[in-house]
Amino acid sequence: MSEQAEMSEQGKVTWIGKPVPRREDRPLTAGAGRYMADIEMPGMLYMVVLRSPQAHAKIVSIDTDAARAMPGVHAVYTAADLPEELKPFPVIWRPPVLKDDSIAALASDRVRNVGEEVAVVVADTQQIAEDARELIRVKYERLPANVDPIKALEPDSPRIRDEWDDNVAALFPFRNGDVDAAFAEAAHVVDGHFKINRHAAMPMETRGVVASWDALTETLTFWSMSQAASLLRTELAKSLDLPDNAIRVMTPNVGGAFGAKWDRYAEDLLACVATRRLGRPVKWMEDRREHFQSTVHAREQIQDWEMALDEDGRILGVRGRAVADLGSCVPSSGIGTQWVTGNTIPNQYKFENYSADIIAVLTNKARAGSYRGFGGPESNFPMERLMDKAAKELGVDPAELRFRNQIQPEDMPYPTATGMAVYDTGDYPGALRRALEMVGYEKLREEQPKLREQGIYRGLGIGCYVHCTGFGPSAMLGMINYDTSGYEGARIRIDPGGKVTVYTGMIPLGQGTETSLAQIAADSFGIDMDDVRVVWGDTSQTPYTGFGSGGSRSNLAMTAVMNAAEQLKAKMIRIAAHTLEASPDDVEFADGHLSVRGVPDSGLTMPEVARIAYLAHSLPEGEEPMLQTQQVFDPPGFGWAYGCHVGVVDVDIQTGMMDWKRYVIVDDCGPMVNPLIVRGQIEGGVAQGIGGALLEEMVYDEAGQPMTSSFMDYLMPTFHDVPDYEIDHLVSPSPHIRGGFKGMGESGVMAPAAVVANAIVDALAPFGIEVDELPITPNVLWRKLRDAGAFEDGRSAASVG
């Protein structure tokens, strides 16, 4: 038996709740992983993409002759070469307010962002393909580019889509209560103009595909690192005019995705078209520069919010608008992320009056899609900044203001001010209280003035957050016009030897899926984890999943596994009862053992029952042979995870650089299946949040040229840039999910931007500086300090000690 197993009081083996190291870690860290780049097949050809160097331009002509003539080149395709075969991918999340748009595989007459696909070359080797690509001559006629989403709203700004009468893809209104009345009676109003920077998921592994057409069976095998394999299969089928069952989507090991691999991409289609035309496997691997330019970016929003409060600092209402920059076309997720932003503005707070206009606009930048947090960090930042602004305005401590406004445990289930979300469970003040206690809030507050006298500018920043998990009830997805389903299935097969195989539609992207599902299955049967195998990544074997991995949905897969195990246990009990000549009601299933109640030695083992089930020599009347089942779980509601972070920073006012002192996290994702995985997910999420707040930004110049196309310029946080995390948990089970588990994959990334900003503003309180724009760079802080007169004669460090 594996080391981590533990016997509970009942003598039963329990895996759930144990910090079991991920079973995938050892092979992956030992180099046994098989990633997309590792897939090589006989006769394989290599595809490269020619991308637009222009942000916005007419394509006057494309000359591919020299490239086609190069030895080793099998094909060069432009849009003109594939008039029939390139049906664009539709957008998945299409509320009625969203204008029609789709993701075209190749630009035909016009390019709309640097990096847009213009042509592909397919050749014997990657090198030949890249050399031939250099020989393609495209003549462009430059058009004025839109890079600023606010300017793109102006009526005379350059139009991205000729078919539209402006650049607005959608305006989604949230309206609840009487917000104007709330502001009319307010004792205090605070407001802010917020900028959330364009940045992106940066998985260690870039995108890639291998497509292989089998002319004999007329089937397509498609290796993809898509987070949504079943959905992709359906969409490929539509675009390629094939039945779903002619396409098998396989997923190798995936080196991170974080949402960026959820979108549909042009290269998926192009590789399929190439393999079908050429009859040979075709591989495309994105390089990092392409990744910077054409894998989805995220988060960019310019927001204006106002908050009304009464004399005691109770929130009366919030109103405002968020303008989101979608880039050059509507992503697969439509305006999903932006909708989530609007829907999570109320955060942990009790108020009823809310009005928000969520405006999504096209510009000549890379498409913006999903990234861990999916709209959540974009609402958390302004809301938590407003809380601190309100605290300052009222002259109360920011923690105290939050306590006054938090939804209480007894208020649950709580319908929020958006009118579209209902929180299930949670102790919001409890999480804040615990975080303050851990960090030693009062003591730090006492020390602060003394430190300032010594020239140490120390600040404390609080960030409370909510995280909508287990995305989501299918009917709810239908209501919000999400053109796919939210359920998760699990198949379990117990083989004739009695060992368990779990088939899941989830795709392991680093979130420990194999381990946590094995823990669940092992506990369901009371067996060793090593006796459970988890199979994933092959649509020909694994259950259909309309949504795929993302949306913090592991808890749905876990419930499906529990339900499937339940079914098989019932069947094994019936078979054992028949064999033991007892009533099924008298047969107990414990620790992988079936016995008649009161006669523990009488029983059968799981392998014995499995053998009986497979032999089928003597089964109960009407019982089907074999042991296999599939269960599908569609959640009745969302599980809302939540928590609180408190950060402590020192700011060097001479340089504007900040230094982490502490970072405290209290998270509640319900009962934890694997605390080690939870910890890893939180730490990774916080690191990404910190990166987005301090370092990462996709910068474009005025002509729409990307200034950040490598890790030289796009700065990711490294080990040196993140604090030591101090983590604790509260446990509020979700009533919607068996076991009460909530999702937790995105919790960590919600609050860090607010924490960092609040801490810096607090540190620099003597200068009265506000920080509402991300990223917060040392240059920006220094400028603010200078403008606030922080340096005696306002000039330079030369005069300051």
């Binding site: 370092l695 030289m712 310029d713 840039d721 240059n779 460090a797």
Partner: protein, 292 residues
């Protein structure tokens, strides 16, 4: 992200390398540690027809001290400079600056010669070697010549090295008894190229006044000697107000260039601040060593 096709030569001696450079100099590139050149090849920012790989020239990797001159072979890896006791004694500034270059794996491959010749405006070696008054010996089939670093480096990644020339050696005057050196930089993250960097080498007179001051700084364009700052310090006892005046001079004469990480004003300010901090360190070290 693959380089365009190139031929590869692997000479085993300097004379072999020089012959190759003489034949192909205009269309060839020397490759040393590859830490700057390989990324440029992969981005196809440079597309040389041949690469002349000088990693076989093992006798170009050395650190020697002779008659008050520290001689460093062009192929000496940055890591060796960081670890060398000879460097620590003869040019502590160089050792200190090396620790700010990237990360260990890059310093294991990257050479001092490659870094100097790549002459990234934000790199540590050009500014440090300029401050130390170093010179280099270069060779071609036409003969050898010696170039002061001040004449070697030009703005924007350029140098006065001819296409057929090979860098052989860097020579640095050994730090005297009464000198004190310090390096200060600011980078966004640990190991990043500097937004601004300042190197100082001070020679103290018996009175406590500074006899000789060498100050070099860089802020995005090119390493430059800060001569006004040097003048403000030379002959002075480094009081707070003198240091303030030196920093103010540095701030005025530095030629910063802004980019997405830092604008010109900020870099100018940082040069003043780094000057202040480097001077404080050098003066403090000096005071410390006198007390011992």
């Amino acid at each position: 992200m693959k380089p365009a096709q190139f031929a590869l030569d692997t000479p085993q001696s300097a004379s072999e390398a020089l012959a190759l450079l003489s034949d192909h100099g205009d269309s060839a590139k020397v490759i040393a540690g590859g830490q700057s050149l390989v990324p440029m090849l992969n981005f196809r920012l440079v597309t040389p027809e041949r690469l002349i790989d000088i990693n076989g020239l093992e006798d170009l990797a050395y650190i020697r001290e002779n008659d008050g001159v520290l001689a460093i072979g062009a192929m000496t890896r940055q890591q060796e400079i960081e670890a060398s006791p000879v460097i620590a004694a003869a040019a502590p500034l160089l050792a200190e600056a090396t620790r700010e270059i990237a990360h260990p794996s890059i310093r294991n491959r990257g050479t001092v010669g490659g870094s100097l010749l790549h002459n990234d405006p934000s790199a540590e070696y050009p500014v440090t070697l300029l401050c130390l008054g170093a010179e280099v010996e270069v060779a071609s089939v036409r003969g050898n010549r010696t170039i002061p670093v001040s004449d070697l480096i030009l703005p924007w990644f350029s140098t006065t090295l001819e296409p057929d020339e090979l860098l052989l050696e860097i020579r640095v005057p050994v730090a005297g008894e009464s000198t004190s050196q310090a390096f200060e930089e600011l980078a966004r993250r640990k190991g990043d190229f500097a937004l601004a960097a300042v190197a100082v080498a001070l020679t103290f007179g018996a009175s406590g006044a500074i006899e000789k001051a060498a100050i070099a700084g860089t802020a995005g364009r090119c390493a430059q000697r800060l001569t006004e700052a040097e003048r403000a310090l030379t002959g002075e006892v480094p009081t707070d107000s003198v240091v303030g005046a030196v920093a103010a001079a540095a701030e005025t004469e530095i030629q910063p260039v802004g980019d997405i990480h830092a604008d010109e004003d900020y870099r100018r300010h940082l040069v003043a601040l780094m000057t202040r901090r480097a001077l404080a360190k050098a003066i403090g070290d000096r005071a410390g060593s006198k007390e011992d």
